[in-house]
């Protein structure tokens, strides 16, 4: 275990970090996911030592570093707006930390050119930062952080200032760098798409607290709260009351009753991912426990996938390919059957 955070607390004006506890393994790519204002950057700056926590401890390889100043931690940080020093060339930006170590120039130059080659910015070294594109600045900031061979690389939404194409490229880049250097990474994001290609594990943050930790698959498939479900893209969320009937639970939503598999009873929230709904113009028999008739109330075609909202007493949103939309010839007002398995209903305490 590289880093252990125990019961961290910090108040900053109206905002507070509550009882944060995390462990991060050697070489792990750990992501922190949460909406704006969840406290992700405060957490990252506290790990970096820039913000002092009020209580709680941070351990690095078992040693308590809670009060250690940032310069003695050996962590590098990359902010979303890169923070390249505008009064220095790209070379001097990357060399900044090495200069502080008073590294002899030949070695310093080799380290800077080495990392610049890894990031593909060798021909930008004499430029001023403001002449670089967003993607180039991002690489320069990454080079400045990595050249220090940090024990932990801290990334604060490093992709949010980039366009979609650069983001996809950078994701692959980060993956490659992580594979090549084996650096432990803590990466903050509010983009759900970043998770699957990068994260070994992640923590979901809400209002200054960590609400769930797990692999992306665990978080996606077994969200432990409706917040996580919503945030990870669960489109259909309903309140109801659950009653046990043998192996199953029936959740009464009022207009309809869902069948689900859960240990919970009483007031619950039920979530169903849009891509787990099967839509059929004809009613048909299947092993799926939930079958409802309804009318198509809305069709939103965007790109390859279309969202279809069906009113089955409650609105249910499904996602189908454009091909299927054409094949089925769906139109608003049409009668249709919605089918999903009991196991597709994710149940959280209300």
């Amino acid at each position: 275990m590289v880093l252990e955070i125990r019961n961290l607390e910090k108040r900053l004006g109206d905002f507070a970090l509550h009882n944060i506890s995390l462990t991060i393994g050697e070489g792990e790519y750990f992501m922190v996911l949460g909406p704006t204002g969840a406290g992700k950057t405060v957490l990252l700056e506290t790990i970096a030592g820039i913000i002092k926590p009020e209580s709680g401890n941070i351990f690095l390889f078992g040693r308590d570093i809670t009060v250690l100043p940032p310069e003695e931690r050996g962590f590098s940080i990359v902010y979303q707006d890169f923070m390249l020093f505008p009064h220095l060339t790209v070379f001097e930006n990357i060399a900044f930390g090495l200069r502080e170590q008073r590294l002899p120039f030949p070695e310093l130059r080799d380290r800077v050119t080495g990392i610049s080659e890894l990031l593909g910015i060798s021909d930008l070294l004499e430029r001023a930062p403001h002449t670089l594109s967003g993607g180039e600045q991002q690489r320069a900031a990454m080079a400045r952080a990595l050249v220090m061979r940090p024990r932990i690389l801290l990334l604060d939404e490093p992709m949010s200032a980039l366009d979609a194409a650069s983001r996809i490229r950078l994701r692959q880049e980060l993956k490659r760098i992580h594979r090549n250097t084996g650096t432990t990474v803590i990466h903050i994001t509010h983009y759900f798409e970043d998770l699957f290609p990068l994260a070994d594990r992640l923590a979901v943050m809400q209002d200054g607290a960590i609400v769930q930790v797990g692999t992306p698959e665990e978080i996606f498939n077994q969200p432990e709260s409706d917040f996580v479900a919503h945030f990870t893209g669960m489109e259909n969320i309903f309140r109801g009351s659950a009653v046990r009937r043998g192996d199953e639970v029936e959740i009464d939503l009022g207009p309809i009753v869902l069948h689900a598999v859960t240990p919970l009873e009483g007031d619950v929230i039920a979530g169903i991912r849009a891509d787990e709904l099967i839509l059929s113009p004809e009613p048909f028999d299947s092993t799926a426990r939930n079958t409802f008739r309804g009318t198509v109330s809305e069709i939103q075609a965007n790109g390859v996938f279309s969202r279809v909202v069906v009113d089955v007493g409650v609105p249910m949103c499904g996602i189908i390919t454009r091909q299927s939309l054409f094949r089925l010839g769906l139109t608003p007002g049409q009668e249709i059957t919605v089918i999903f398995k009991a196991s597709a209903v994710h149940v959280f305490p209300a």
Binding site: P69, E71, I77, H87, E100, Q101, R144
Partner: protein, 265 residues
């Protein structure tokens, strides 16, 4: 109204601007050209004016340096720090700037003269009242708030995250300030020092009260102007005035030049 011609209102405003420019120019040129040229040259080379130039330069440079030494840390802590009483401190720091310089001079005179602190300093051999040291103290007191104000807004415009990054790259608190915020503040710092220095050169009221107006002792350029005007030595007075004008115009030009250059956007 055809394009390319000024409207009546524009023409009127333009005429007022032109008249103002002519007024400023004639006032200044009239003074410079008033004394006979050779008398003016002689005055500029007189012992008294040369002394005043020397004293003004020395006291203004030392005061500006002291202002910088104090204003940089104070402005930085006001820009970055959060501490109780910050608002009150800000207001108090602005008081010397809002005071008429004569009032500041009287307050300083009492502080360094009859007060027990003044007596104590006098006893250990530091005399401020009616000495060149008094000039430096007066200049510092009235001008340091300006420099703090300028530097504070300069520091506030610099993202604290530059220092955060520098810290994680191995810099101590002081080194990260020294290597990021300070060089990034270079333009504001330079502009602030030029303004402070040129205000020091021109300061009269506070210096008059605290340092007195002793010929060839505490005689800065404005004091020389004042003394010679009151004794009717018009050429000497105008010689001092011309040097003051030249210094003002030169600092304006320097400021214009550096304001136009925007290296750090």
């Amino acid at each position: 109204m055809r394009a390319g011609y000024l409207s009546t209102v524009q023409a009127g405003f333009f005429a007022i601007a032109l008249a103002l420019l002519a007024f400023i120019f004639l006032v200044l040129a009239g003074m410079v050209l008033y004394p006979p040229f050779d008398a003016l040259v002689r005055s500029l080379q007189s012992e008294e004016i040369l002394f005043a130039i020397g004293l003004s330069l020395v006291t203004s440079v030392i005061s500006t340096g002291l202002c910088a030494l104090v204003a940089i840390p104070v402005a930085y802590s006001l820009a970055r720090g959060t501490f109780p009483g910050k608002r009150a401190a800000t207001i108090l720091l602005n008081v010397p700037m809002a005071l008429p310089p004569l009032v500041a001079g009287v307050a300083l005179l009492i502080f360094f003269g009859p007060s027990s602190i003044g007596q104590f300093l006098e006893n250990i051999g530091i005399s401020v009242v009616f000495t060149p040291l008094g000039i430096i103290v007066a200049l510092f007191f009235v001008n340091v708030p300006y420099l703090i104000r300028i530097l504070r807004s300069t520091f506030e415009d610099i993202n604290p995250r530059f220092e955060h990054v520098a810290r994680t790259l191995g810099c101590s608190e002081w080194r990260s300030f020294r290597r990021t915020t300070l060089p990034l503040a270079k333009r504001g710092l330079f502009a602030g020092l030029v303004i402070t220095w040129s205000k020091c050169i021109g300061e009269f009221g506070a210096v008059l009260i605290l340092a007195g107006a002793t010929r060839l002792k505490t005689e800065t350029l404005p004091i020389a102007l004042f003394l010679n005007m009151s004794t009717g030595d018009i050429e000497l007075a105008i010689a001092a005035a011309i040097i003051l004008i030249a210094i003002s115009i030169a600092s304006l030009l320097v400021l214009e030049y550096f304001a136009g250059e925007s290296r750090f956007v």
